[in-house]
């Protein structure tokens, strides 16, 4: 049985309508044999409290990050993980999570680093599903391990490293953290743990567009026209721009990366996952303080 795309009219406006599914679509396709539903949350126990029937859990920290090196898991580790979740290379993966899909977007971005062909987000995530009174369960699905190939991670297209940022000056950057983190007043989100950076502020010339500007009240993505208002009119991005997004550890900026890349169709958007915890501690790199973007230094190539 082939899987039909979600024909939700809001989605057809987006540059790539096939990367989102609605709660209604998922409810109708819950038992489809070519999909695997993945929950990815900030809170490591939230899945255990109750999840969408049939969903498996992938934790951003304990599953997707290497336990020793600050980096993502290797090709072998990723293949083992996906195989243990019953995901094959041709599986349609639907990811959802808490906090309007921050960690779900982050997981999707990591799936894309490994080139998994069909990964979609549940628009509105866990909260919307629950708010609509849809079924959740504590029962964990029994998974038969799949064959997942060992595919080398591509860090060159969707991911930016610090040297890429230094070479990027003169092109637009989006800082998706809170205004207080951007100005340098604080080193971490209000009411969040300090993850450690030696300096406060932002990367010079980066525009401040907090991630939440992409989200409507019910946690789903805003319409294309509303997103264009935020990123094109508001932040001054232009079609064809080469963009880098960053936050504190790369999770909120995955959400913005998703919106720019798939919903608005920017073809050159990279997520700088080192983000402020790296940049704010690097020796000798330029930093701007205050609410103004500041001037981009000469790019270092």
């Amino acid at each position: 049985m082939t899987l039909k795309l979600d024909s939700n009219p809001k989605f057809t406006e987006y540059a790539n309508p096939d990367v989102l599914v609605s709660t209604q679509w998922l409810a109708e396709n819950l038992n489809h044999d070519s999909i695997v539903i993945v929950e990815s949350d900030e809170d490591v126990l939230l899945y255990e409290v109750g999840h969408i029937p049939g969903a498996v859990k992938i934790d951003w920290h304990t599953d997707l990050n290497d336990p020793v090196t600050r980096d993502y898991v290797s090709a072998e580790q990723f293949a083992r993980l996906l195989s243990s979740k019953g995901i094959s290379r041709d599986t349609t993966v639907i990811i959802y999570g808490d906090k309007s899909n921050w960690w779900a977007s982050y997981a999707l971005w990591v799936f894309k680093l490994f080139g998994h062909p069909d990964v979609r987000l549940l628009d509105g995530g866990r909260d919307k599903w629950i708010a609509e009174g849809r079924e959740i369960t504590k029962e964990k699905p029994s998974v038969s391990p799949s064959e997942y190939p060992v595919v080398t991670r591509d860090d060159s297209t969707l991911r930016a490293f610090r040297d890429d940022v230094l070479a990027h000056f003169g092109n637009p950057m989006i800082d998706v953290r809170s205004p207080e983190e951007y100005s340098g007043e604080r080193l971490h989100m209000p009411a969040y743990p300090d993850e450690g950076a030696a300096r406060g502020g932002h990367i010079p010339s980066a525009a401040s567009v907090p991630w939440g500007k992409a989200v409507a009240e019910d946690g789903s993505f805003k319409s294309r026209a509303e997103l264009e208002k935020v990123y094109l009119e508001g932040a001054g991005l232009k079609t064809g721009d080469n963009v880098i997004a960053y936050c504190r550890i790369g999770e909120r900026s995955s959400h913005t990366w998703f919106a720019l890349n798939y919903l608005l169709g920017f073809e050159n958007v990279r997520n700088y996952d080192g983000s402020w915890t790296e940049w704010g501690s690097l020796v000798g790199v330029p930093i701007a303080k205050g609410s103004e973007p500041g001037i981009a230094p000469a790019p270092k190539r």
């Binding site: 900030e42 809170d43 490591v44 126990l45 939230l46 255990e48 409290v49 934790d59 920290h61 304990t62 808490d98 009411a191 969040y192 743990p193 300090d194 993850e195």
Partner: protein, 139 residues
């Protein structure tokens, strides 16, 4: 008296496989006592634990040198609730002196860092530090 001693709790957690440590944490989370009405009506009395990713508030009572703890955290934050419930089970009912003597490094010793990531453990240390500070101020 507290329902568990620090040393028993450290042993209980460390005797378990990683996945079972998470299940035990979930059990603690489900058993976090509800906030009594006198505090539900006075959220202003509670102190926010900023080290935690999720909103959690705590209040410490000291009556005749005995310490009682009160927490408020939403059900969508089970990990944070679990941390609060662990602290409740080892501290609630101790004397001021015993509370101040609780090992500051105890959160690192229950073997949860491997299960939930070291980053997430900071919240529990933050709670413990704030509890001790309130106890010192109120005794």
């Amino acid at each position: 008296m507290p329902t568990e001693s620090v040393s028993t709790l450290i042993r209980d957690f460390n005797d378990l496989e990683i996945q079972d440590r998470l299940s035990l944490l979930l059990e603690f989370s489900e058993n976090l006592p509800e906030l009594p009405k006198r505090y539900q009506d006075h959220p202003d009395l509670l102190e926010r634990v900023e080290e935690c990713q999720s909103p959690i508030y705590l209040f410490v009572e000291v009556n005749e040198q005995k310490v009682n703890l009160f927490f408020s955290a939403p059900p969508e934050a089970p990990t944070t609730r679990g941390f609060a419930s662990i602290l409740h089970s080892v501290i609630d009912g101790l004397s001021v002196k015993e509370t101040l003597a609780v090992d500051d490094d105890f959160p690192a010793k229950i073997g949860l860092a491997d299960a939930v990531s070291p980053l997430r453990m900071r919240g529990m240390r933050g709670m413990l530090a704030r509890i001790k500070r309130q106890v010192s101020e109120k005794s």
